[in-house]
Symmetry: C2
Subunit: 468 residues, 2 copies
C-alpha cells in the first residue's frame, strides 16, 4: 500500500487542478436536488475514460467509496456520497461525439445536457424524445443511470428505449462496451439495459450510444377540465380505445391547480369546481395530427369535460403548457419543502390513487398537490412541509409510508422515474421480495466485488443516512 | 443423497404420466429448428410454477443439467440439452391468464403460441406487435427467452419492448417476480430486461406480463424494385428523412428472388435485372396511412425504383406479401440445408453487407440468398449446402466465419434475432471482449451458482457440441 496522500494520488491521474478538497466543493459536489447532501472526502474531475478507469482502480485497491456525479439533479440522493470517499464528476466528458443522420444514432459523453442534445438533433430533423423536467440541467449520463422519464414517455417510452450501447468503467477498472450501433442485438446478456437505471451502483458510464427517431413535424395541444379525476381517466381510456396514442397526457389535480392560480403571473386558470385537468398533445405528420386531435376532443367531451381548449397557434400552445410548467415553481407558494414522490400504478387505477391521496390529506392534515403522467399512471405526489414544523414533518413521513403501501396494493411501484437512492431504500421491500433483493445484491457483486461503487444506495440494510 | 431413481423423483413432483424416458421423446424434446439435437436423459412436463421450482431444486441438489423448452423453434440450439440431463417442457403452462383492456396489458403463461395471443388481443382492438416468422409455432416464453424480432420490429421494436414483468424460477428453486403491470418502474435493477434474451441460462420463465398497444386500423403496402441494393437502401434513408416510419421495410436480394421465381405457384415476380426488392408497409389511422404511402412512393421513385406496386385492396396486399412468405419454402429448391444467419449492421451499411455477401458467393462458390429487415439492418444470410457434399459444408463454415468477421468490421452484431445458443458460441468473442464475457459469466453465477441451467450455451469455452 502506497502511503502518498490520496488526493495526491488522484492528482497523479488527472492533474492537480482537477482535484478539489476545499470544504465548499466537497459539499457542493455531494448534494443533489433532494437537498440532503453529504460532503465528499475529495472531488475528482477526469478528462477521459482512461482516467476514470485509473481512478476506479485506485478506489478499488484502497476500498474507497466512489460516487459518480452528472448534473446533480436527482431527487433520491443517487449522487450523494453518504459514506464520503471520492466523488467523480464527469463534467469534462461533455461532448456530443457524433450525430449519425443516416443511421439515426447519436454518440455522446455522459455530461452532455439532455436539452442540448435535443436541440442538436432537432436541428437536423431528428428527435430524442426523453424529456425529464430537469432537461435543461440534467445530463444524458444521469438520465441513463436513473432511467429518466418525462411527459413524452407515454408515446415514446422512457430513456431505456433509446440506449443502444454503453462504454462503462467497472469499479475494478475494466473498460467495457455493451451493445452498439444496431437496434437489434442478441449477443450475450443485455448488460446495456441492466446498466440503465442502475443508479451508479454497477459501473461509471463514459460513453452512450443513443437511438434517434425522425422528428414529428406537427403538434396539436388540447386542454380539458373535469369535475373528478375519474372523469379524466375515463377520457384517457376512451381516447386509447379510439386508437389515438398522444405524445403526452398530463393530469393536474385540483389542489395543484389552486397552487398555480396562487402563483403570480399565471393566467391559464381552470373553471371553478375543476378537480382534474388534462393536457394532451398529439404529434406526427400534418395529415394525421388534425384527425387525432378531433378524436381526443370527442373522447374528452364524451367523458364529461367541463371545458375544452385547443391551441390554434404556437402562442396558444405555449399558454396551455404554461400551467404544467409553472407547477414546480408554484409549489413554493404552498410550503418551502416538498417530499417529491413519483409513484406509478396501472393507468386504470389512477382514480384509486387520487382517492388514496385525498384520504392522506384528510387523515394527516397535509397539503399534497399532485400531477403527473396520466397515460403511464405515473403521478408526482408532493407532500408539502415546513421543515421547522417537526410535527408536520413527522406526519409527512407517516403519510409517505401509507402512500407507498397503498401504491403497492394498487399493483404499482414506489418509483416510476426518480429511482431509489437512499431516500426510498427503506421501502424497497414493499415492491421486491427478499429473494429478489438477494439476487440483485449478487448481481451487484458481479460488477462490484468490493462494494465501492455508490455504496449505501438502493439496498435498505446498507443505507447510511447522511448526517451533514 | 437419495438413491431413488431420478425419473421417479421427478414423477413424485409431477405425476408419472408427465415424465418421459422413451428414446423417441428424449430425442424429439432435445431437437430444435437447428436440427442438431441431442437426447435428454429425461423429459418432464410440470403443471405449475410450484412444480417447476421443485424440479429446479432437485436438479440443483443433484447438479443435473436443466434445459427449459418452449415451442422448440429456435435456430441456435438454445433448447437442445447438449449435456443431457432434464428437459423441462413448459407445454402445460399454455394459458392466457388475462387481457386487461383498460390497462393495455396481457398476462400469459410461457407456452401460449405467439400467434394465438395476437389473435386474442386483436379481437378486442389491441395489438401485440412482435412477429417472428415462427409465430404460428413459437411461444411467448421462447420469444422472450430469445428476444424474438420480426418484420414489424422496425416501427414497433423487438420482444423486449413489450415485456413489463416476469415470474421466473431460479435454478436454486426460488420463485421471483420482476417488474409488474406498470410501464414505468425504476425500483431496483431491471432484471426483467436482463432475463429477456438470456436464452434460458438464468431462470425458467413461468409467467409473462406484456404491454399491448391499440391496434393500428389501416395498412398500406407497397413493393418497389431496384437495380442495386444501394438504390434500395437509399430509398430507406429517403423515406426516413421524409419522416415516415413504416411498420415494416423488408428487403430481398436478387438471388433470393430467383429462388422464389423457381418455386411453383409464385406469381409475384420482379422485373428482370432486379437486384433488390423492398416490401414496405405503413400502418395507423386511415387519415395518416394514405399520405405516408405517398411519401414512401416518392422516396422509392427518387431513389431510382424500376417498378412500384401499391396494393389497392387486401387481396393485392396478400399477393405482395406472398413473395416474402414464400422465401423459406423456396430455399428448398436451392439446396436441402441452410446455415441460417441473422446478422445485423447499422442500416446505412446494408449495401456494404450485401457486397460482402456477393464476395463470399464468389470466393467460396456458394449460393447465399439473403433477405431481411432493411430498416433495422438485420439481414438473414442463408448459406445453402447439400449436407452430403463435405467440401461444400467446409466452405460454408469458412464463409460464415468471414461473414461474422465482416459484420463486426461493419459495426454490426453476429445475431440480431436468433441468439447464440451453441451454434454461434464460438464467435461470441468477435462481438464481446474477454472482460465483458467474464462479467457475463459472473452475472450467470449470480443466478445459477452451480451452472445447471442450460449449460454449454452462449459462452464459447463451455460449449459441448451435440454428438447424436
Amino acid at each position: 500500500m502506497e502511503h502518498r496522500p490520496f488526493p495526491l494520488r488522484l492528482a497523479d491521474i488527472v492533474g492537480p487542478e482537477f482535484v478539489k478538497t476545499d470544504h465548499e466543493s466537497r459539499l457542493r459536489y455531494g448534494t443533489d436536488a433532494l437537498n440532503r447532501g453529504h460532503a465528499a472526502d475529495v472531488v475528482v474531475l477526469p478528462a477521459d475514460t482512461a482516467q476514470v478507469a485509473a481512478i476506479a482502480r485506485l478506489c478499488d485497491d484502497t476500498r474507497t467509496p466512489l460516487v459518480a456525479r452528472g448534473g446533480g439533479t436527482g431527487y433520491t440522493g443517487g449522487s450523494v456520497p453518504t459514506r464520503g470517499g471520492v466523488v467523480i464528476s464527469l463534467e469534462r466528458l461533455n461532448r456530443i461525439l457524433d450525430i449519425d443522420e443516416a443511421n439515426l444514432i447519436a454518440i455522446v459523453q455522459p455530461n452532455v445536457i439532455t436539452g442540448d442534445l435535443q436541440d442538436a438533433v432537432e436541428r437536423v430533423g431528428l428527435f430524442y424524445p426523453p424529456d425529464p423536467a430537469s432537461l435543461r440541467q440534467s445530463v444524458v449520463g444521469g438520465n441513463v443511470a436513473e432511467c429518466a422519464g418525462g411527459p413524452r414517455a407515454f408515446k415514446y417510452g422512457v430513456t431505456k428505449r433509446y440506449v443502444l450501447g454503453l462504454e462503462a468503467v467497472l469499479p475494478t477498472g475494466e473498460i467495457i462496451r455493451t451493445g452498439g450501433k444496431v437496434v437489434k442485438n442478441v449477443v450475450g446478456y443485455d448488460l446495456t439495459q441492466l446498466l440503465v437505471g442502475s443508479e451508479g451502483t454497477l459501473a461509471v458510464l463514459t460513453e452512450i450510444t443513443l437511438r434517434l427517431i425522425p422528428k414529428p413535424p406537427v403538434q396539436a395541444t388540447l386542454r380539458a377540465t373535469f369535475p373528478t379525476v375519474t372523469h379524466a381517466v375515463d377520457a384517457v381510456i376512451r381516447l386509447l380505445r379510439a386508437r389515438v396514442v398522444p405524445a403526452t397526457i398530463e393530469v393536474v389535480d385540483g389542489e395543484r391547480l389552486d397552487a398555480v392560480a396562487g402563483h403570480p403571473g399565471v393566467r391559464s386558470l381552470a373553471p371553478p369546481g375543476t378537480a382534474a385537468l388534462l393536457l394532451i398533445e398529439v404529434d406526427g405528420l400534418s395529415e394525421q395530427v388534425g384527425p387525432e386531435a378531433d378524436r381526443v376532443a370527442t373522447a374528452c367531451r364524451e367523458a364529461g369535460a367541463t371545458e375544452l381548449l385547443r391551441a390554434r397557434d404556437e402562442a396558444e400552445r405555449q399558454e396551455l403548457w404554461r400551467v404544467r410548467r409553472e407547477l414546480s415553481l408554484s409549489l413554493k407558494t404552498i410550503a418551502p419543502q416538498k417530499f417529491n414522490h413519483d409513484v406509478v400504478v396501472p393507468k386504470a387505477r389512477v382514480p384509486e390513487l387520487f382517492r388514496l391521496i385525498a384520504d392522506l390529506r384528510e387523515r394527516f392534515g397535509l397539503r399534497i398537490p399532485s400531477f403527473g403522467h396520466a397515460g403511464d399512471g405515473n403521478i408526482h405526489v408532493n407532500i408539502m412541509v415546513s421543515p421547522d414544523d417537526t410535527d408536520e414533518v413527522r406526519r409527512a413521513h407517516e403519510a409517505e409510508a401509507v402512500l407507498f403501501e397503498g401504491v403497492v396494493a394498487l399493483e404499482g411501484a414506489i418509483s416510476g422515474e426518480h429511482g431509489i437512492g437512499f431516500a426510498k431504500a427503506a421501502y424497497l421491500g414493499l415492491n421486491l421480495t427478499p429473494d429478489v433483493i438477494a439476487l440483485m445484491k449478487r448481481v451487484k457483486a458481479a460488477f462490484d466485488p468490493h462494494g465501492i461503487l455508490n455504496p449505501g444506495k438502493m439496498f435498505p440494510d446498507e443505507v447510511t443516512l447522511p448526517h451533514s
